[in-house]
């Protein structure tokens, strides 16, 4: 199971604005980040705070030194967020644009309903990664849990490790690229031919995640919708 783990970063660049949650409230930190239109910020002592760096709208850089709770980077627009630690449920949920990079592992529903931008998870991701995905790109360097990409509508998911049960159940138009084993495919999800357009797309995603030079796209299998359940037919009841 390939997994790239980074140590927790503790030192930060003196040019950054420091936001220490040992003394600042969540509201104070988020308000500062939400109002910022430029600049770089380092958040220390997050102590598993929920909804940290949620609702950002400016093209700012945010580095969070430590583990975060639920919904870190939720609904992100334009900001680039690095989590030097693990992330709880729903990291980068409904992200619209920008980039969220989790250096550790991510809990369930990472990138749920995401519409745009890039989510990179260096470690593993739990169940329901990319559930109801709507355009976000996700690259997971480790493995992912069950029910990933459930009802995923658009966007791309790249997994360097293995995938759990029911991958892509009831998937719509999202594309999945898995290098390792898939425990099982969900309803209406099938392996598909990797054409040159898909290899090009995958190279671009890996490059965006900063690992294009070290990964061979030929090692991946593409998965997507068989599109047999797009219309409700009584003959398909056995599939549900």
């Amino acid at each position: 199971m390939p997994s790239v783990r980074m140590g927790i970063k503790t030192a930060f660049d003196a040019r950054n604005t420091s936001l220490d949650m040992a003394s600042l409230l969540l509201r104070q930190v988020n308000e500062t980040l939400q109002k910022a239109e430029a600049g770089a910020f380092v958040v220390s002592n997050p102590r598993g705070a929920h909804a940290l760096a949620a609702g950002l709208t400016g093209p700012i850089d945010v580095t969070i030194d430590g583990h975060v709770g639920y919904y870190c980077g939720g609904m992100n627009q334009k900001a680039s967020i690095i989590v030097n630690g693990n992330a709880g449920t729903g990291v980068a949920e409904n992200m619209m644009s920008g980039r969220v990079h989790v250096k550790g592992d991510a809990s369930q529903s990472a990138g749920a309903t995401g519409c745009g931008g890039l989510l990179v998870i260096d470690g593993n991701a739990s169940s329901r990664l990319g559930i109801s995905l709507r355009g976000l790109d996700i690259v997971v360097k480790g493995s992912i849990g069950h029910m990933a990409a459930f009802m995923a509508q658009a966007g791309n998911i790249v997994v360097l490790g293995d995938a759990g049960d029911a991958l892509g159940d009831s998937i719509y138009e999202a594309r999945l690229f898995v290098r390792g084993k898939v425990k099982s495919l969900g309803t209406d999800c099938i392996a598909k031919e990797m054409r040159e357009e898909h290899r090009t797309l995958l190279r671009g995603l890996l490059d965006a995640a900063g690992i294009g030079h070290e990964i061979d796209v030929a090692e991946f299998t593409r998965y997507g919708s068989a599109r047999t359940l797009y219309q409700f037919h009584i003959e398909n009841l056995g599939s549900y």
């Binding site: 909804a51 949620a54 939720g74 449920t89 797009y230």
Partner: protein, 446 residues
Amino acid sequence: MADDHDRWIHTPPRESATFDRATIAEIHRAAATGIYDIRGFGAKRKLPHFDDLLFLGASISRYPLEGYREKCGTNVVLGTRFAKNPIEIKIPITIAGMSFGSLSAPAKEALGRGASAVGTSTTTGDGGMTAEERAASSLLVYQYLPSRYGMEPDQIRKADAIEIVIGQGAKPGGGGMLLGQKISDRVAKMRTLPAGIDQRSACRHPDWTGPDDLEIKILELREITGWEKPIYVKVGAARPYYDTALAVKSGADVVVLDGMQGGTAATQDVFIEHCGLPTLAAIRPAVKALTELDMHRKVQLVVSGGIRSGADVAKALALGADAVSIGTAALIALGDNHPRWEEDYRKLGTTAGCYDDWHEGRDPAGITTQDPELTKRLDPVAAGKRLANYLSVLTLECQTIARANGKSHVHNLEPEDLVALTVEAAAMAGVPLAGTSWIPGRSLQD
């Protein structure tokens, strides 16, 4: 003589109460198609409802207020618990969430126009916010739904309040299906899906489970909106005592409680008719939970499901609601099921007053459709005016009853103003059976 004898020996046809003609027709339909019946509207069976309650009015011990002269307030403030910017509606009636997709764009605009004209709010639905409804709605509540179709943070920021939808009364525990014939290019684009395919709306939220998670989800929404907007939690009437308590525990500003008479764009008939609680049975347990938590009137309770008249509004408020919400009645006010379209209803195999195939996209009234020609039939200005008129009538009727019971504000109506006509209604509403002091389930000493 023989003929006369025949008249005595023949038993006239007798319809079975168990296998009545509607039941037999449904069995025939099911046997022919192999699939359950799907339809819109709400429960059609007879249920204990507000019709089973009566107001007592004034008497020697209760002093009435003069109609048309003495003031009877109707305003409601929603979101006073945590939101920096609570919203105030001028009448105790709001418009329930209904999606663009299930409804046409002119219908959504008309709902906004009608609600705004009388100073109340309307609500988005699955698929997100349209520019037309935002422009037409002075107060717009943004629904945060399990499917998250069309959900964008910029839309949340444009809204005046947020309603997290856990379920709805017509199908507590059920998701939805918007059939392909209603998925126009615009609807498809808003929902990030191909045009023409059936779109499944999820029954559970994708990124949280249970009340502890809900508390964190509410925190996230508050953080994203700067703690400015009221956050509602909408539940279908299933376990109203516990659901209300858990919504309060999770940090809701407002609880929206939708009884089983509440309408839906489409679901299985068996779901509509056999799941959930009647609205009448749901209100008192919810109020009990709020009262025990010292949150009655602090967390506002909005009740929906089968509200038709000002009497229904007044009865819901008397049982403890802060406001009511209407969906089906609002669509009827716009023109749904109007006899002017009888010829078209007949072509669809139904008749005005019975049309409920809202999911098929062939609504002659131009309301539950995306067909370009049919949607032209609904003038959003005229339909909005009809809705405003209807909302005014509901408010006037509610005030009439409140004044007759001596109330200077509709919120002063109370259970003690009510009696029940049936034992069932008395038990559900917690008011005495008319002419007695008996409330089933309570001893006379209570």
